[in-house]
């Protein structure tokens, strides 16, 4: 029973961070109908930013989120303005190639600067945990989860209640109609890409105290983000949150009850089953 609860809690906590990655991707897709295959690489940039802030300036990884968000928001906005905007009407495969190419440039640039060595960020709490009724809960993961929850809540409020948020949602629902209503859709796209990038980078910052950092780390997370987003329903924030947690728990459970070598198989079987029986994803109908 303890083992079951332990793996459930670990799964939920890690799933929270996955959700953050998925939400970023889903916002970008929702507004622009572009799948950002450089999402994992943006996360990797967030990790390196956090690592640099920590090793050079001694800024705690969780505090560095405050720096990561604006910096990567601007970075994402620039990417959108300079590259992606020009491709909005283009064929989907061209958009995919563009984002893959951007991702390759990012990871190889980082390799040029930092070499392909693993960087490990060690904080005083990197391996601490506290016990809750016999179940040990990782301190860094718990903090990440709380930060993730707070960011998701703020994001939800922003999209639901503010004028800008409503404009972004309108753009996601119907780009042309939104434009006719006087919404600057170009600007909304830049905002959405900036937000998506900031969220990916935040996820990177949040996992850096418990994970290792290297230039090729992005690929794994791009794939994960893609699965989470499709599983939850493309463009749905609630779906991405749910998807992230489901993937986290599925990984954790299959590592315990099958074998950790098989956990990816379990995740993809689950993914295929959802696609077979509910092709639009779990929350497929709703658009934010």
């Amino acid at each position: 029973m303890i083992v079951f609860l332990q793996s459930l809690i670990s799964g939920v906590l890690i799933g929270g961070v996955y959700a953050l990655i998925g939400i970023g991707l889903t916002i970008i897709f929702g507004v622009m109908r572009v799948i950002n295959f450089a999402h994992g690489e943006i996360l990797m940039l967030g990790m390196y930013l956090t690592w640099n802030l920590f090793t050079r300036l001694g800024i705690d990884p969780y505090v560095s989120v405050l720096i990561c968000i604006p910096v990567m928001f601007v970075f994402g906005g620039l990417l959108q303005k300079l590259f992606i905007n020009r491709m909005l009407g283009a064929l989907p495969q061209n958009q995919i190639l563009l984002t893959i190419g951007l991702g390759l440039i990012m990871s190889n640039t980082m390799m040029l600067i930092y070499t392909s060595d693993y960087q490990i960020l060690t904080t005083s709490y990197s391996s601490s945990s506290f016990s809750l009724g016999g179940i040990s809960i990782s301190e860094p993961l718990a903090i990440s989860f709380l930060i993730t929850a707070a960011i998701t809540a703020v994001l939800y409020w922003f999209l639901m209640k503010t004028d800008t948020g409503q404009a972004i949602r309108a753009t996601a629902q119907d780009r042309e109609a939104a434009q006719l209503m006087g919404i600057n859709v170009q600007w909304m796209s830049i905002l959405a890409f900036g937000m998506g990038s900031a969220l990916a980078a935040t996820a990177g910052a949040l996992i850096s105290p418990t994970y290792y950092i290297f230039p090729q780390v992005g690929g794994t997370f791009t794939l994960k983000a893609f699965v989470i987003t499709v599983l939850g329903g493309m463009g749905s924030i609630v779906g991405a949150t749910l998807g992230g947690i489901i993937i986290g728990v599925a990984e954790s459970m299959s590592a315990v009850y099958i074998s950790s070598g098989w956990k990816d198989v379990v995740v993809y079987v689950l993914f295929l089953l959802v696609l077979l029986f509910k092709p639009s994803g779990l929350m497929g109908k709703s658009r934010m």
Binding site: S7, I14, S129, Y212, G261
Partner: protein, 385 residues
């Protein structure tokens, strides 16, 4: 004055007989000097350079022919062909990697060139009955055996849990380890391969914790080694001992993470504090000359070059005589006693004594076998701080 000098020289030459005849010898070196294996290859290069200096002091001028294999077997093979046919070397030391060494071994046999492999671990290299291939270091099966032997000498472990990456390196090391524990009557309670690069091993470690094993045996590279130990601490895994099968567990980076690396056992071919003749001196001189601490690869390469050059010089560069002398000879140096024997399917294999080391307060201490130990092992595991 002149007379005095002449008599001095005469006296010296009488005191050290044979030196005048064994002046020059040509030895080939194949090593990974560039390419992905270069960071470790550098250790071998430096060890060999230091050996060359020391040989010169003994009156042996070694003419080294350097070949860079860039870590690729096909390049190592063409380097061997060149050394054997064009350069006419008396013997070859190298290459570093298992893949290169295994490829080169076949050519050494073909061209009848004595080859001394300093540090490649793949068992097969000396298991093919080759007459011209010698190996200094202990092969891979010794890694697990020495750790388990160490644990058995320190306590009475009954159960063991394996957690290892599902790559060639992880699975093959664990396979020999599993066979060995079966022989020793230790029960395997968990067998967990994992795919590299996963951010979360907590659930697997919790599962292992629930089985309450006496020993936890891990095979990982450095990043996963740190992650595994961090998360083992988080879930409160507390066996009698953590055994790290080489690789990530023997790195400076791992040792730096004191909070989680303390009291972890691992095994190695050589340490600076072992009481083999000249080991500590080698460490000091190496550090002074190259500004870095030598790894066991450096020590293996150093001793290999000393043995190869001395033997070849004594045999006046004759390959056949060199081979016979290597086979018959016995040495004692920074790698302990060296003798190339045939046993357990191996041919010309130095039955090298692996060392078990333990991280105590951030530094690696040799703790087993007892006769080479500098510190007492801390056993069982004292728990997390």
């Amino acid at each position: 004055m002149m007379k005095k000098l002449v008599s001095c020289v005469l006296a010296a030459s009488f005191a050290l007989p044979g030196l005048a005849t064994a002046a020059n010898v040509k030895i080939g070196v194949i090593n990974s000097m560039t390419g992905p294996e270069a960071p470790i290859g550098e250790n071998l290069t430096n060890g060999i350079k230091l050996a060359q200096e020391d040989l010169k002091k003994k009156g042996i001028n070694v003419d080294l022919v350097w070949e860079d294999d860039t870590g690729k077997p096909q390049i190592a093979m063409s380097a061997m062909e060149k050394l054997a046919t064009r350069d006419n070397v008396a013997g070859v030391v190298g290459p570093y990697t298992s893949a290169c060494s295994n490829a080169v071994a076949k050519l050494a046999e073909k061209y009848k060139v004595p080859l001394l492999v300093p540090a490649a671990a793949k068992e097969e290299i000396t298991r093919q009955g080759f007459k011209w291939v010698f190996r200094m270091n202990a092969p891979a099966d010794q890694y697990a055996a020495s750790l388990i032997d160490g644990a058995l000498a320190m306590g009475k472990p009954k159960t063991v849990a394996f957690i290892y990456e599902n790559t060639d390196f992880g699975t093959s090391t664990t396979k020999t380890a599993k066979e060995y524990v079966a022989k020793k009557g230790i029960h395997v309670v968990a067998d967990e391969p994992y795919s590299k690069g996963s951010p979360d091993y907590r659930s697997t470690l919790t599962k292992i914790k629930s089985k309450n094993p006496d020993l936890v045996f891990m095979v990982s590279y450095v990043a996963d080694a740190i992650l595994l130990m961090r998360q083992a601490k988080e879930v409160g895994l507390k066996p009698q001992a953590f055994l790290g099968g080489g690789a990530g567990f023997t790195t400076v980076q791992f040792a730096k993470e004191r909070e989680i690396s303390n009291n972890v056992f691992s095994c190695t071919q050589w340490t600076e504090d072992v009481n083999w003749p000249g080991a500590r001196d080698f460490f000091k001189r190496y550090k002074a000359k190259f500004g870095k601490e030598p790894t066991y690869h450096a020590a293996c390469a150093y001793e290999s070059m000393i043995i190869m050059a001395e033997t070849a010089a004594k045999s006046a560069g004759n390959r056949d005589k060199t081979r016979t002398a290597l086979k018959a000879g016995k040495w004692s140096g920074i790698m302990g006693d060296v003798k190339f024997e045939d046993y357990a399917g191996f041919t010309n294999q130095n039955n090298h004594q692996m060392l078990v080391q333990q991280l105590q307060n951030g530094s690696y201490e040799t703790v087993f076998p007892t006769k080479f130990a500098t510190k007492k092992p801390i056993f069982p595991f004292t728990g997390w701080k």
